[in-house]
Amino acid sequence: MTNEELLAVMEQERQAKGQLKYCVQVCSSTGCASSNSEAVAAALQQQVKEANLQETVQVKLVGCMGLCALGPLVEIERVQIQPGAPPDVLLYQSVTPADAPDIVAGLASGQPVRRLRLEMDDPFFTRQTKVVLAQAGRIDPERIEDYIAEGGYQALFKALAEMTPAEVIEEVSKSGLRGRGGGGYPTGLKWNTVAKVQSDQKYLICNADEGDPGAFMDRSILESDPHLVIEGMIIGAYAVGANKGYVYVRAEYPLAVKRMRQAIRQAERAGFLGQNICGADFSFNVEIRLGAGAFVCGEETALMASIEGRRGAPRPRPPYPAASGLWGKPTLINNVETFANVPGIILNGGDAYARVGTEKSKGTKIFALTGKVNHTGLIEVPMGVTLREVIYEIGGGIPDGRRFKAVQTGGPSGGCIPEQFLDTPVDYESLSALGSIMGSGGMIVIDDSSSMIDVAKYFMEFSKEESCGKCVPCRVGTAQMYDLLCKFSAGEATEFDLRLLEDLCDLVRNTSLCGLGQTAPNPVISTLKYFRDEYLAKIKKPEEVFGVAARANGRAPGQVEQTA
């Protein structure tokens, strides 16, 4: 496709839309799809047909709108005659197929259906800043034309036609973008390192192995706006000189896999992938590789081992993937959300991007806000927003009249942050100063009905189960820590056990081979720090524990006879 052809597609789409009066958008992402949104779309389609409104009303399936808890969500957009006018939209919540007649009747009469209406002036909508998710929930993720109509692939043309690879990297560096997978490594720096290595073959990997329980940002992006990620990957490949790319995505995300496969085929057909992309002297292909249920494969060296068809066990670094990655070749690995930020940076410039956020953390971040909070769902906020704003304004506070206790960020590698730090700005440095991490963006709200020991135990069980087993501290240390936490949970721990637990946190953090082990103690460390009382309350004297344990575990020999 040439730039002219691209603009022609855009124009064509705009004209087609100009014929419409209403665009009815039904969420088809995993969340809403599981609440039967496809049937809702079909019923709406049927009603539109019966009312003979096909010419002016379009019903389409779109990606995630964010407020998953209230799905299926349906957005009614009144198409504006005036270009550039603010969008006129209306949102319906918890829609069932039975609501379709009323909704379509409402279109004809111009009267919204009150009982379904969701107020758009709620802070959930007004306090968000949608950059990466700007088109999610607005475009049909299964049509490349929808993406193009909203300016898609223009960044790619700009990069290829007007910029050298070095200039692309310069722009990304200027933006201050940092890895969104959790590490927060400066993206420009990483790209620069890979670009500098001389090699006949370089690889680019998009890490979509979103394994943190309680996180679904990447799934949502892949399901809602797959071309955004592909465009970011192509620009990255151009910048570092990679000719082959892989998207490593969890098999647990079937819809994301399907949409990504489809998008890759569309991009190939349009000439955005393949030989001499857009007429430039640059070739790049992308393949999908399915993960197979191993959290540790989110670690880059384990991920590469998995793509090579081996056990996903990490190896010591250096060498780093930038020098010796997939099959020993220089490799760029970035996470889904990182790539999704790239087209915007190229199109609007790094400086514009850097205007949002804090001094060291630029741009926006997507969070999966879940747990004991009223508005569970996906949100995008500028870096630097406070936890309180996220939980109480966007999230609408704690349900069922309960008290906030902690917010867990960063999944099994992160920590629990208590109430006194709710005014902390959300950025890489502030969260790690509190003993948690930004992580990939899971944010789980915990209320006073949960025991923090049980939360730590939950995460430790996860790390124990997901440890690859290669290095001693992670393999045995997580198993021992889990057993110790079980003793605390059951009220059978002694002071000696507390010392063992704290020693293990220190050992496992400092001696494990990869990030999984190095961060596995974090949930324990942070709960010990902020909720130590809960641990201390469970401690008993050895004579109590062993007296009780002896009676509970020890069986009189006679009992054996009875059961035998």
């Binding site: 690859c468 087993g469 001693v472 045995v476 021992q480 400092n510 001696t511 081979l513």
Partner: protein, 244 residues
């Protein structure tokens, strides 16, 4: 006399525990330390096999960095200052040994390699006089189906030396690791009894590189099994000669 052989390869000079040392740039900190008679404990490492950095006993400190570095897989660098026995390292090593002992059922008193065991002697060297962590006491099998050898998983520390020697030296790749995490286990072929393995050449290399009594010759009783390793450097040098 310098322990560094005459070579065209660039040489790096640096410090270990305050002592000036030099090594070829492709050497690891561990190799350099051992060439200078500085002892760093290891269990998974065995000269002649690839290094995996799994047991973490050889972790050292490098001045200026808060991180610890596994000496077996960290290359020497010009001007670095390596510390091999700081208080922190000594403490960590002892804890790592405790974890290894707690993982499976190590009963030195009734072991075929009692007195010839690297796990046992390393524990002694590190001053580990007891294990503070509860023993996990898993129920594991002993496979004596092989005509010459047996494997006792109770004594396996998952160092993967058997896997590596079988793959890299014998090239049979009879051994590998199945499962993951605390449930990992070394297996032969499709996890069938070793004696039924269709790929095993009965060479016994795995038995001799095993640092514990997990792999042993049948017919050996308590403390009777000493491992013979002289074949390994010999085979490695034969291989290098053939490549050249």
């Amino acid at each position: 006399m310098s322990p560094v052989p005459i070579t065209t390869e660039p040489v790096k000079t640096f410090k270990i525990n305050g002592q000036d040392v030099s090594a070829r740039e492709t050497e690891s900190i561990l190799q350099a330390a051992r060439a200078h008679n500085i002892d760093i404990p290891t269990l998974c490492h065995l000269e002649g096999l690839s290094s995996t950095g799994a047991c973490r006993l050889c972790m050292v400190e490098i001045k200026g960095s808060n991180k610890l570095f596994p000496a077996c897989v960290t290359r020497v660098q010009e001007g670095i200052e390596v510390m091999t026995h700081s208080e922190r390292l000594v403490k960590y090593r002892r804890m790592l040994m405790e974890l290894i002992f707690s993982e499976r059922n190590h009963v030195c008193a009734v072991c075929v390699v009692n007195g010839h065991c690297e796990l046992q002697s390393t524990a002694q060297k590190l001053g580990m006089d007891h294990v503070r962590y509860p023993y996990l006491n898993p129920q594991l099998e002993v496979d004596a189906s092989h005509e010459r050898y047996a494997v006792d998983h109770n004594r396996c520390i998952l160092c993967t030396r058997c896997v590596r020697v079988c793959d890299e030296i014998e090239t049979a790749h009879t051994w590998d690791v199945m499962g993951r995490g605390i449930g990992s286990k070394v297996i032969t072929d499709f996890n069938q009894p070793w004696g039924e393995s269709e790929t095993c050449t009965r060479c016994g290399k795995c038995v001799n590189v095993c640092p514990t009594g997990a792999l042993f010759e049948k017919g050996k009783s308590v403390a009777e099994m000493a491992k013979q390793r002289q074949f390994l450097p010999y085979l490695v040098s034969r291989r290098e000669a053939m490549i050249e």
